[in-house]
């Protein structure tokens, strides 16, 4: 066993680092909150990577992938986290893309994959429903066959960034008489179709990141069905396993801990830097230790993938620990900023709103980020559900 990077891998890291330094858009450097971001902001780096051939590193090379080893991919994400880049959104790259190239037909691959690679087409995910959150299989949205079309009716929720989306992938019930998991199909929907309505949901941090999506008599050509009718659950599970492996966020958390240490060095406690306080420093160290454990666990999973194992129920461990660490990190950051955790960034002011907000820069998003990150233990199958998965799939109980 060996955790050292090979000289080739070191060289790869240098190459990645200089590519980011030379090509990452300057105006997006250290970009803070997502709600401030336009569609163009989100896609700028993706488009640059598309031209370079690096936008979908994990895909098979025939569809635009890089052929990188899992270790190279790991280095890639570390370097991006280090530079705080705005990474390509997962909906096309890690979710629908792999479903299409694995289960879609030749026509679907030709039509949809290039737009994901280039960053021209924005995808959103239509899984959750108001009555079906973690119990995804109880979804009610229906797709009824009518000649060459499906007619879709229903309501989806938590449709992340659907306000910018060109296309969505939706789970719809195509056989209402079958058992919960067996009558569901995976259907691609042009978000500009008549009958699709997207309404933003305001979240605790004040931002609009998710939406409610209504589908009323939306007519979708049958060629937009991916794979086999009523077998959508299989594809959905495949997709969720992919989603969960990206969810650990190790590299971002590493960068977050560095930032936390910078903040705690600047804040003072009893006349000394906060980071010199044993109690606080102990919590930061504990977090770092847990993150190190997660990092190696993820590397072991990656090594397994390299050996040909797809992401399996182990990804539930990455989801649980990764999101817990992200939440503790934002919690500690909130604690570190102390008094200036209270002002609401974007709140009304009695003077020129262009003036610099109150408190140190690093305090401005601390509370909002903490509130926002509570979602991580809920989305993608809540952490309770992940524990159920481990109970069943690994413990066999």
């Amino acid at each position: 066993m060996n955790l050292e990077f090979t000289p080739e891998e070191q060289a790869f890291r240098d190459e990645v680092r200089s590519f980011i330094a030379e090509n990452y858009p300057a105006h997006l450097a250290d970009f803070g909150m997502r709600e401030d971001m336009s569609r163009e902001d989100f896609l700028a780096w993706h488009k640059i990577l598309g031209k370079k051939g690096w936008s979908v590193p994990a895909w098979p090379t025939e569809y635009g992938g890089t052929g990188w080893t899992p270790t190279q991919r790991y280095i890639w994400s570390e370097e991006n986290a280090r530079a705080s880049t705005v990474m390509p959104l997962p909906f096309g790259v890690s979710m629908v893309g792999p479903v299409i190239y694995t289960f879609g037909n030749a026509e679907q691959k030709a039509r949809h994959l290039p737009g994901i690679v280039s960053g021209e087409v924005w995808w959103c995910q239509g899984y959750s429903e108001p009555g079906a959150g973690s119990d995804l299989a109880s979804l009610k949205t229906t797709a009824v066959r009518d000649g060459d079309h499906y007619v879709i009716n229903g309501q989806k929720t938590w449709t992340t960034l659907a306000q910018h989306a060109d296309w969505g992938f939706f789970l719809c019930r195509t056989d209402p008489t079958a058992k919960a998991q067996e009558g569901i199909s995976f259907i691609l929907v042009d978000m500009k179709s008549p009958g699709v309505e997207v309404k933003p949901i305001k979240l605790l941090d004040g931002g609009y990141e998710v939406n409610e999506t209504w589908l009323t008599d939306v007519r979708v050509p049958v060629e937009n069905l991916v794979g086999v009718e009523n077998k959508g659950w299989t594809y959905a599970k495949f997709l969720l396993a992919h989603e969960r492996s990206g969810i650990a966020g190790v590299a971002r958390s590493k960068r977050g801990i560095e930032k936390l240490r910078e903040i705690a060095a600047n804040e003072s406690l009893d006349g000394a830097p906060l980071i010199k306080d044993f109690d606080f420093a102990r919590k930061v160290s504990q977090l770092e230790i847990d993150l190190a454990a997660l990092e190696i666990t993820e590397l072991r999973t990656l090594a397994g993938e390299q050996a040909g194992k797809g992401p399996g129920p182990e990804s539930s461990i990455l989801k649980i620990k990764g999101t817990e660490i992200q939440q503790r990190l934002t919690e500690l950051t909130l604690e570190a900023v102390g008094t200036y955790s209270a002002p609401y960034h974007g709140g009304v002011s009695n003077d020129n709103s262009n003036e610099h907000p109150v408190g140190p820069d690093y305090a401005q998003h601390a509370a909002a980020t903490y509130f926002n990150m509570r979602k991580t233990s809920i989305y993608g199958g809540s952490n309770e559900i992940q524990r159920n998965i481990i109970t069943k799939m690994i413990l066999g109980l």
């Binding site: 938590w158 605790l204 003072s268 406690l269 008094t339 002002p343 003036e355 809920i378 309770e384």
Partner: protein
């Protein structure tokens, strides 16, 4: 041993509970927060009418002769409705300074206005780099003839946009972080040289950065003895902490009840999620934490009149225990509410936000754990 409330306290609770229920429903609160004023002066007037704003003052000072337990009863009801009006800055803090150390003339000048609701105060004690240490002051008050000249910057002064007056802490002598040399002043907010930047806080209140630039005040602005203010500040803020703990208990009680109710209604996998043992146990843990927090709040409230060490230990114990419970209950309530818990529309998230900011007010869990250690 007696943990019962008096008949009067029961009446105060009922009256306030009705007011909050009828006048402070969720939609009205939401609108008030979004309004230009950001609060409801008409509710403030009603509180004055009910005698709530005069509760802690002696009858001789024009109040109703209530004590810490009365404040606890009041704050718990405020917490249940997430009431944002500035009872703590005005009545508990400013009122506390006047009550404990005000001259007859100062009491005469201010207490009547507090009781009637006409005078609203904010307590400007925190500084950008002070981090919970009341003696870590860069704000100065230099002797100038009979009066003083104030200079400095106060951070996150809760309720300041609504206030007519400020209680301000400043250094009249000694070095930064010295225990002596700290003084307390009361000044009208429109005094020349005071400027503010007003903003909304994440839990829906209003606050200001307050700047003092050569603010000249008379000798009558000083509360208590010059340079001896720290012990007074500690006493008043301990009272404020006990009050805030009671508020947090009210908020936790409602957050827990809402969560239990939600788990009864919300179905997943064909059954209410409240039937899952893993969630049942977590709601039991929330409930246990809440009950422990209530106990610590009682302890702190009842020890406010004890000697300094006992008082501080009890108050710190409460701030630690209530702070931990507030974190646990806030986070678990959101988690059990699932996606709805992170939306702005559902009330539960707003309870979570108030319970979050509670920790940073007058010292967080770590700070008070450390104070407890130092006193033990």
């Amino acid at each position: 041993m007696d943990f019962n409330f008096t008949e009067e306290q029961g009446m105060v609770r009922d009256g306030l509970s009705r007011l909050v229920r009828e006048q402070y429903d969720w939609e009205t609160r939401r609108k008030a927060i979004a309004s230009g004023a950001g609060w409801r002066p008409e509710v403030w007037a009603q509180l004055a009418e009910l005698g709530i704003l005069g509760m802690p003052f002696s009858e001789a000072d024009g109040g109703f002769g209530g004590g810490a337990v009365d404040a606890m009863v009041i704050m718990e009801e405020f917490g249940k409705g997430l009431v944002i009006e500035p009872f703590v800055p005005t009545v508990v803090c400013a009122g506390g300074f006047l009550k404990h150390a005000g001259t007859d003339a100062q009491k005469e000048e201010h207490i009547g206005g507090i009781v009637s609701g006409e005078r609203v105060f904010a307590f400007a004690y925190a500084e950008p780099r002070g981090r919970f240490d009341y003696a870590d002051l860069e704000t100065t008050a230099k002797k100038d003839g009979a009066g003083y000249v104030l200079n400095g910057h106060k951070a996150v002064v809760i309720g300041a946009p609504w206030a007519s007056h400020l209680v301000v802490t400043a250094r009249t002598g000694g070095e930064r972080r010295d225990r002596s040399g700290v003084s307390v002043f009361v000044v009208a907010k429109d005094t020349a040289g005071i400027t503010t930047r007003d903003y909304v806080t994440v839990d829906g209140r209003r606050a200001s950065e307050v700047y003092f630039e050569n603010v000249a005040v008379g000798a009558e602005a000083l509360i208590g003895a010059e340079g001896e203010g720290l012990a007074l500040i500690e006493l008043v803020t301990d009272e404020a902490i006990a009050a805030l703990c009671a508020e947090a208990c009210g908020a936790m009680k409602v957050a827990h009840a809402m969560t239990v109710e939600y788990s009864r209604q919300r179905k997943q996998f064909g059954v209410p999620i409240g039937s899952f043992q893993v969630l049942q146990h977590r709601m039991v843990d929330m409930y246990t934490a809440y009950e422990q927090a209530v106990s610590l709040t009682y302890l702190a409230t009842l020890r406010l009149g004890s000697d300094e060490v006992e008082r501080k230990k009890a108050v710190s114990a409460a701030k630690v225990g209530v702070g931990q419970a507030a974190r646990l209950i806030g986070q678990e309530a959101v988690q059990i509410h699932g996606g709805n818990g992170v939306t702005d529309e559902y009330a539960i998230g707003h309870f979570f936000k108030r319970l979050t900011i509670f920790d940073s007010e007058f010292g967080n869990v770590d700070h008070h754990l450390k104070r407890h250690v130092a006193l033990s």
